[in-house]
Symmetry: C3
Subunit: 167 residues, 3 copies
């Protein structure tokens, strides 16, 4: 590690902090129905694949979550899209972040956990130096074996398929 240049070490630290901002910022943006901020998390042709629901393909479809009646109903009742501290593997201009996503919601009997998912998020460095999400895969942790299988890959770097959606 100490054989790396100062520049390389600074960049590695900045990259991980930027990816932390990206992952947690998405959740606050979507709970706040901040359309521009949600869209800003993804590349133009980014994909948000949810596993048990139809996926969202392209930034416009992802931005539209903030205007979706189902989402607005959750927000009006009270909810939080919580992302846990991500485990991040960075390779050059590509990164993969593994985390849990939990959505506590408010109902008649108080708060309850509405969704609990495993998430694997592929991100790419953009020409302006920012990081954006290229592909996000969620799987509900409700007995579907794909969730644990996704988490087991935490040390694997970005996939070749991540070339799709590159800046």
């Amino acid at each position: 590690m100490t054989t790396q240049s100062i520049e390389a070490r600074l960049l590695a630290l900045e990259d991980r902090q930027a990816i932390y901002q990206l992952i947690c910022g998405y959740g606050y943006s979507v709970d706040g129905c901040n359309t521009a901020s949600v869209g800003n998390c993804y590349v133009d042709d980014g994909v948000y694949a949810v596993g048990d629901l139809p996926g969202f393909i392209g930034r416009e479809a992802i931005e539209a979550i903030t205007r979706d009646p189902g989402h607005l109903g959750l927000v009006a009742a009270g909810c939080a899209h919580l992302s846990s501290l991500p485990f991040v593997v960075i390779e050059g201009d590509r990164a993969v972040a593994t985390c849990h996503t939990m959505v506590p919601m408010h109902g008649e009997k108080g708060f309850f956990i509405g969704r609990l998912s495993a998430s694997r998020i592929e991100a790419a460095r953009q020409p302006d130096g920012s990081w954006k999400i290229v592909h996000r895969q969620n799987y509900m942790l409700n007995g579907n074996p794909e969730g644990p299988a996704l988490l087991a890959r935490l040390n694997e770097g970005p996939a070749v398929s991540a070339e799709v959606g590159a800046a």
Copy 2:
């Protein structure tokens, strides 16, 4: 980013890590009823505004949470003041951190989520280089529209009102 000096880049990285320590450290301190550690998170005239409860004005009032019978009852029964990974905007000696705060508690039927809030935390760099909270605003995510509205402002920098309570 790379046009900044090494000093500026190191400081930006250190600032965000320091604010992470501040935000999560408050929760562990209050769950541990560590009065000095709770007080150390805030400036002397810091404010903790809770939304649905009377606020806490000044470090002494905030420290007194650790001796409050209601709080001591929660701690004795079992609880955790969890803060999610914050989204942090830093401008010079000021910063704003946006996060969720969730308080799982233990009761007769096991664990339940007692509180779930949106938090916007204004912090200021102190003369000794540390960061402390100037103003924290929580809103319960239980249907109150102020919670989502607060989260929607995640990209907004520190308010002019943050001048109150400056070091």
Copy 3:
């Protein structure tokens, strides 16, 4: 802080990021039943003390969690071993991270919080520069006063007892 050398400042930043990776990475590894990745979080004679359950002594015992029928049952039903953002105190080649650990699980009536614990994790820098866990102490936050007492010590550095298990 600014009187430290650039090398010391970079190392301090890298150390905290590495400990973040270690703490959250353990949770994803154990939920994914990734035996090697779980084992890689601990030194050979590392200890995982759980408080209300028999502890796990040595890397092999900790790795065996990923093959334990009880654990496999939780994973098959759906669960997440969530660690909150840790508060980290670093002293040279030793560090202590304080965090909450929460385990939401999936059952017949949906998701519920199965476990909620306070965690104090002693880690040590290894000869290859990585950080590994030497000793982890969890206490359930269910009325046991040891949980809050552990959290109250968040500002305390590594214990002398951490010498056990040193690299």
